[in-house]
Symmetry: C2
Amino acid sequence: MRILILGGDGYLGWPTAMHFAALGHEVSVIDNYLRRNIARETSSEPLFEAPNLIKRAALFKELTGHSIEVFISDCADYDRLAEVVQKTSPEIVVHYAEQPSAPYSMQNRHTADLTIFNNIGTTFNLIWAILEHAPDAHIIKLGTMGEYGTPNIDIEEGWLEVNHKGRQQKFLYPRQAGSLYHTTKVLDTDLLWFYVRTYGLQVTDLMQGPVYGLSTVESDLSQDLMPNFHYDDIFGTVVNRFLVQAVAGVPLTVYGGGGQTRGYLNLKDTLQCVELAASNPPAKGELRILNQLTEIFSVNELAEKIHRVGNSKGLEVTIKSIDNPRKELEEHYYNVEHSGLTELGLQPNFMTDEVLGEMLDTIIKHKAAIDVEKILPRVRWK
Amino acid sequence: MRILILGGDGYLGWPTAMHFAALGHEVSVIDNYLRRNIARETSSEPLFEAPNLIKRAALFKELTGHSIEVFISDCADYDRLAEVVQKTSPEIVVHYAEQPSAPYSMQNRHTADLTIFNNIGTTFNLIWAILEHAPDAHIIKLGTMGEYGTPNIDIEEGWLEVNHKGRQQKFLYPRQAGSLYHTTKVLDTDLLWFYVRTYGLQVTDLMQGPVYGLSTVESDLSQDLMPNFHYDDIFGTVVNRFLVQAVAGVPLTVYGGGGQTRGYLNLKDTLQCVELAASNPPAKGELRILNQLTEIFSVNELAEKIHRVGNSKGLEVTIKSIDNPRKELEEHYYNVEHSGLTELGLQPNFMTDEVLGEMLDTIIKHKAAIDVEKILPRVRWK
């Protein structure tokens, strides 16, 4: 199949591109290096430098024989995106092309402006590029579990059947996110749902939990094919950040009470989920929403896991609660329906001690590169 | 009080400006003539030409002694809006500065792009201009009843208390609008709700039904102070359009079955509602949502009313159903809670035969100016 990946340089985009190429699909990627630029701007570079996308694709071709066509271009510019869609004529488009950092979106007006107009812009442009140039393509959009926030009722899979005064209505599950970044994903969902029901687009919206991991079958082929591994306060997700703190010998910094509970998944399972969505498309005019996570943990549970595994490797891991820079509930109800991907065949890679241990081993090799200045929160929700 | 009105040249903006100025408030308006430009671009000029905003304000000053300060500037440009907010230091901001036509938003990619980025842009810029330069101001935002769509349960006033599997959660009432324009208002509400709960803004979001009317106390002073009266398919709301059709001797064009049911209100009541919201501000950190309508009618009921009143004036009014250019339910449940404004003291001006008769009399004076080419739908939701 012809697959176009928007945001193909990212933590998820690049492993996804290699995964589909290795399966024999015709893969193209587009990226404007926005995340690399923001990482430099905010002094949040990843633990090890990844070669640029053109070089990574060339190396991947050399090692596996599989091609990935690279477009360095901006999806927020309609003409440039439309040109790539016309050239590649995709059957599937995977949309990761968004500014992905919650703290960056909350830093100031300029970063908020960039986040909202980039993210709505890439989604809006993609909708129109598909309507105009590839109307039968299946859009697979990366949303986030953060769209739902932490309501006091069960989080259902995208939709909520409401019984009210003796009558019934099925709604898009009401969303209330905790950062501007997460709110842009809410706006994306609203927008996709409008265009799906009005123009008959075919969309899968994946509500993904925080991802951890360093290893996929293809990235294991070479250090230079590994995903960008961020451990900073801007781009680093909590598990990756804690593991680096464990290696660096600084306390695992729990924000506030540590009861914040979320659904997590291994990077390998992101690839599996996107592949399952691609091979099982929704109908035309259907917005299919899948909650993409495999296990639920509180921040304290994560810290304790990493404390245990780190100490078993001779690291002296400590845990420290710090003032929560975010505005969020630190104790809350959290029960999430997520059977959709399991029914499609997802075989989870759980967060075992072995998995965490292997990640620690990789990070230990790069210990000298860790910059502890990047770890503590530099942005507060005020 | 110091009141700044965004979109002060509009059908609602200009009468609101005069109303507050006549009450003795210090009123400023900002407008970039976007609606006038789109009206010319789409050949949808109003029934009679309104002088430009500077001339209207000068005439109003001459006739009443009350000043309205005019800024011809673009709220979608942050620096220009921030400059006006700094200069005027408002205690209340009334935000009408949006592209208001559903058909225009559905015409093509360019008009969709203009609508979404103008509307999200003005709202986002206003949020930040208030945060940075007038943090204690009360924002009164014009939303639309169209945000809710036509769900099969009662439409509550902004919020929905959900009982689900034995647990409870109050959500922003789930919204599902029928055009891209209406969807931009859904996005506005999502965005305002995020900034209200995170940064403590003080916001009233008015979910307004379609407005009809030509007359307010101040606009009655001179033909040149009257609101822009649109009867075309792009900007004309259904009652205004039907009245012009009655005068022009062309059939009242009901879209499809005519069972589409909405809540309506008189232009005079828009002024009353905005004034009531202004004198009864919500708390800091509160998003107060009020459903702004006074009576509920189906399109068929409206057509029959205007048929009756028109014929009593010797007009030969006929009614004709045409293919519905929109994608909407033509028969649906519609029961709307709207007690909030009544509790604040709203005294409705109902759609009586007398009110419709007076509107017909005014339109008859301008009969020669009616261009019947503008009336039939030129945009289809496809």
